[in-house]
């Protein structure tokens, strides 16, 4: 069973937080472990996932995409069709239900692309809870649509002006808020990062992606896929897809953001180029300089724009259970166009990275190979940025 009692996935993970939060993490772990095996909690969670989020999401065979890239059989796991437009809500419903059981009255969250912020604000509206969302100034500018959505849902957005003004800094600020208001506040972390038990808990809530995929592909193809492909920022959609297949022979491919190119030093490929370090409460691969200062990441996709990565991905890399590659900003834009024109789906910029990978590496797959790619979110939020980048007026 991973993680171990101390929250480690091999040498990765752990709890590297100020003393003030240590008790809160233990309480959280206790509460979560108790609910994890509680039938009533699961039936409540499943009720909301089915009737509110709209699960199960379809597993869609993208024939024109396969034909266009002259590649293998490609199935898209349509997380973009989940309520609020991304996989993030699988986790926020779970965590907010947990927060309610723990008697917390105020919810905070960090957000990069705004998808986790929207998913948190949505669930807080649903359960009538106070909600504060930390968001970097830079991200507020490039994700205006999601900022408006959060406000309309009744959340208060707290702009973060420190550091690179993106997801990393929003996370710092959310942790500072949690340290200050730990008694009444629940921190809904949006990815498989942070101190134990978050990486485990977020993974568990996201495994619905992989569990559904397993069932659906068996119905459709009568066998498991050959490959699973997904983008990796913090790594929650990919881990949610991969984890239920861990004990099978299915190969995992995670795609990071290469930004302006791996050699440009302006990217977010922590697994490919990072060294082991500690950020936001856990030990994992991390983009850092020679003095152990954390570097600012860069990606056109705000949801991938993070210098760290979930500890379980680091474990997958170290043990070679998964392989990782990276796709640049420019290539991701091509991935975006590709899906729009072949399948009539506007993907978010994050999974556009994984889409382009399929095109770039189409030759490595056999025609009969079956690939499931997680289409983690829809592209409405990126329409403005993509139009600008592509010069569409």
């Amino acid at each position: 069973m991973r993680p171990n009692k101390a929250g480690y996935f091999g040498i990765f993970g752990g709890k590297f937080v100020p003393e003030t939060l240590m008790n809160a993490l233990s309480e959280l772990e206790k509460a979560y472990c108790k609910l994890k095996t509680n039938k009533d909690f699961h039936s409540e969670l499943n009720f909301y996932l089915n009737y509110y989020v709209g699960r199960p999401t379809p597993l869609y065979k993208a024939k024109r995409l396969s034909a266009e890239i002259n590649g293998p059989v490609i199935y898209l796991k349509r997380e973009d069709l989940a309520h609020t437009g991304a996989h993030k809500i699988n986790n926020t419903i779970g965590q907010v239900l947990l927060a309610i059981k723990m008697g917390k009255t105020r919810i905070i969250a960090e957000t990069g692309a705004g998808q986790h912020g929207v998913a948190t604000a949505t669930v807080c509206a649903l359960f009538n809870l106070k909600c504060h969302i930390y968001m970097g100034d830079e991200d507020i500018k490039r994700q205006k649509l999601n900022v408006s959505r959060m406000k309309l849902l009744g959340a208060e957005i707290i702009p973060v002006h420190s550091g690179s003004k993106t997801l990393k800094d929003a996370t710092n600020e959310a942790i500072r808020d949690w340290v200050t208001n730990v008694k009444n506040t629940y921190y809904v972390l949006g990815s498989v990062v942070g101190p134990h038990p978050y990486p485990m808990m977020v993974r568990d809530f996201q495994t619905i992606i992989g569990n559904e995929t397993k069932k659906q592909i068996m119905e459709l193809e009568g066998k498991l896929p050959d490959y699973l492909v997904a983008c990796v920022g913090g790594g929650s959609n990919s881990l949610g897809l991969f984890y239920p297949f861990e004990k099978t022979k299915v190969k995992f491919i995670g795609i990071e953001a290469a930004g302006y190119g791996i050699k440009s030093y302006k990217h977010a490929a922590s697994l490919i180029t990072g060294e082991v370090g500690i950020l936001h409460g856990s030990k994992s691969y991390l983009l850092q300089d020679k003095n152990g200062q954390v570097l600012n990441a860069h990606s056109i996709a705000p949801g991938l724009d993070y210098p760290g990565v979930g500890p379980e991905h680091s474990y997958y890399k170290k043990t070679k259970r998964a392989e990782y590659d990276a796709v640049t900003d420019k290539e991701a834009l091509e991935g975006f166009k590709l899906l729009a024109r072949t399948e009539g789906i506007l993907p978010a910029l994050e999974p556009s990275h994984a889409l382009y990978y399929l095109k770039k590496k189409a030759g490595r797959f056999k025609k009969k190979d079956i690939i499931v790619m997680c289409l983690s979110g829809r592209g409405d939020k990126d329409v403005e940025a993509v139009s600008e980048a592509l010069g569409i007026k």
């Binding site: 003030t20 500072r176 060294e275 370090g277 950020l279 152990g292």
Partner: protein, 287 residues
């Protein structure tokens, strides 16, 4: 006859007691000395390299002249998540001067001969981890550092660094927070050497006009588990607060209030004067 035969492990224990007794760390000596005089400790925090290392050095000398008992050398970090706006900004300024652990060690070495107060390094974990734990402990000790405080490294995760620190006689100082339960207090207390750092409030560093009333009760509680000194930090900004807390704690730690003084001064000369004045007031309040 059997009375005379001590088991090997027992011998080792006795030797250790004698050995540790003789080899009192500079921090422990300082607290012993203060106790004998009936005084409490005034501990000052500076972010090294803010505005530059030369000024940090001069500030340290000014603090020493004005009654400081121990100095915390803050290592700037890109993501100081236990710090409020004052130290965040100080860290950013220092990092823009390319301050690293190496340059701080060099400064500490240069100061070693001229100052008597113990130096404690306060750093987030990643710069230390990246430096290499074994090398960090060695270089810290070789450059006159007496102890380390790592705000994002609870004792639970500190096994490796403690192993090296114990051998090198580098004190490891852990935090107790208002949210720590009995088990956590016991862990922090048993792993701490030098003193125990009590965080006065649930929150980040930075001056506060008023401090929680819970502090006194918590200090008494911590002291029921240990004879080691307990010092209070976070939020303390003036002599009145320092005096109130020093009535029951063994020392007070002031950081943000000093850094605010440096930056509100306008000139380096005035900064040195203002920090000296604040230091002498704080020292007087606790001595």
């Amino acid at each position: 006859m059997s009375v005379l035969i001590l088991r090997v492990s027992e011998c080792e224990r006795l030797v250790n007691i004698l050995y540790e007794g003789n080899k009192m760390n500079k921090i422990e000596k300082k607290f012993k000395e203060l106790k004998e005089k009936g005084r409490k400790a005034f501990i000052a925090y500076l972010t090294c390299g803010d505005p530059d290392l030369k000024t940090t050095k001069e500030l340290i000398k000014v603090l020493c002249k004005n009654g400081v008992d121990l100095i915390e050398l803050g290592v700037p970090f890109s993501d100081p998540l236990a710090d409020g706006p004052t130290i965040q900004a100080a860290s950013q300024r220092a990092l823009s001067n390319h301050i690293s652990l190496k340059s701080i060690f060099k400064m500490a070495k240069e100061l070693e001969a001229s100052i008597k107060v113990p130096l404690v390094m306060m750093s987030y974990y990643n710069p230390i981890f990246h430096y290499g734990i074994r090398n960090f402990v060695k270089d810290a000790k070789d450059n006159g550092i007496d102890g380390i405080i790592i705000p994002d490294l609870p004792a639970d995760e500190a096994g490796q660094i403690e192993l090296f620190a114990r051998k090198a006689d580098l004190a490891t100082i852990y935090f107790v927070a208002p949210t720590s339960d009995e088990a956590r207090i016991k862990t922090a207390v048993s792993h701490s050497k030098g003193f125990i750092y009590y965080v006065s409030l649930t929150g980040v560093t930075g001056s506060r006009k008023s401090l929680p009333s819970q502090i006194k009760k918590d200090i008494i509680r911590i002291k029921s588990f240990t004879k080691k000194p307990v010092c209070v930090g976070f939020g303390i900004s003036c002599a009145k607060q320092a005096k109130d807390i020093a009535a029951y704690a063994d020392g007070i730690i002031v950081g943000s209030a000093i850094i605010d003084k440096i930056h509100l001064a306008g000139s380096k000369k005035k900064a040195l004067i203002d920090v000296g004045l604040l230091a002498s007031k704080l020292a007087k309040a606790v001595h």
